[in-house]
């Protein structure tokens, strides 16, 4: 079965650069979530979209923005990157069939030098 696809899997950027992460949810899933997991930390909720509209907002910095497109894929845009942005970024999707059950992608590892 198709899973959540994230790209790129690895990304290296320098401070003050920008980065864009992409997420392709499981077909027919209507909700997409973005999480950030720093080294040794818990996954922190950033933002979510339901039917292409922002539904919940967590600890997403103002330097970050995200959107969900008409084909349901989502992009997380990060600008003015800082060293502390180095983390694993997970995208997850859900259909709402079972409450709280999110299907996660393998993550995109961002390293800021």
């Amino acid at each position: 079965a198709a899973g959540v696809i994230q790209s790129p899997r690895h990304l290296i950027k320098e401070k003050r650069e920008t980065a864009t992460l992409k997420c392709y949810p499981i077909p027919r899933h209507d909700t997409v979530y973005w999480y950030q997991q720093g080294p040794g930390q818990d996954p922190q909720f950033l933002i979510s979209f339901y039917e292409k509209m922002q539904s919940d907002k967590g600890s997403i910095p103002d330097r970050f923005s995200a959107q969900q497109f008409s084909d349901y894929h989502s992009e997380l845009n990060m600008s003015s990157l800082e060293l502390g942005d180095s983390a694993l970024y997970f995208c997850a999707s859900s259909s709402g069939e079972r409450f709280g059950e999110l299907f996660f992608g393998e993550g995109s590892r961002l390293t800021v030098l």
Binding site: Y33, D42, F45, S48, F90, F104
Partner: protein, 113 residues
Amino acid sequence: DQQVKQNSPSLSVQEGRISILNCDYTNSMFDYFLWYKKYPAEGPTFLISISSIKDKNEDGRFTVFLNKSAKHLSLHIVPSQPGDSAVYFCAATGGNSGYALNFGKGTSLLVTP
């Protein structure tokens, strides 16, 4: 602030024995709790969940217990198998967190033969 806490970063259990992973939460508005399992280089995968109206939910070798008065839940795995070796994340949702999941930092379980 960390609303979901997993105070044991690691746990080692012998194959065939019971593994007990613990989780505490601080937000009394949480009403749905989940456990996710994560292997290296993969995203978390849903394992089992429990609603606050129940105190136990069982699925095969996995049982989750919820003690609302103590704001504590635990995951029991019996019998433990080497393939269960992974990081287990406790998550909670509800109240003003919307549908977003609040994760603990995870407990790394090692099941030895």
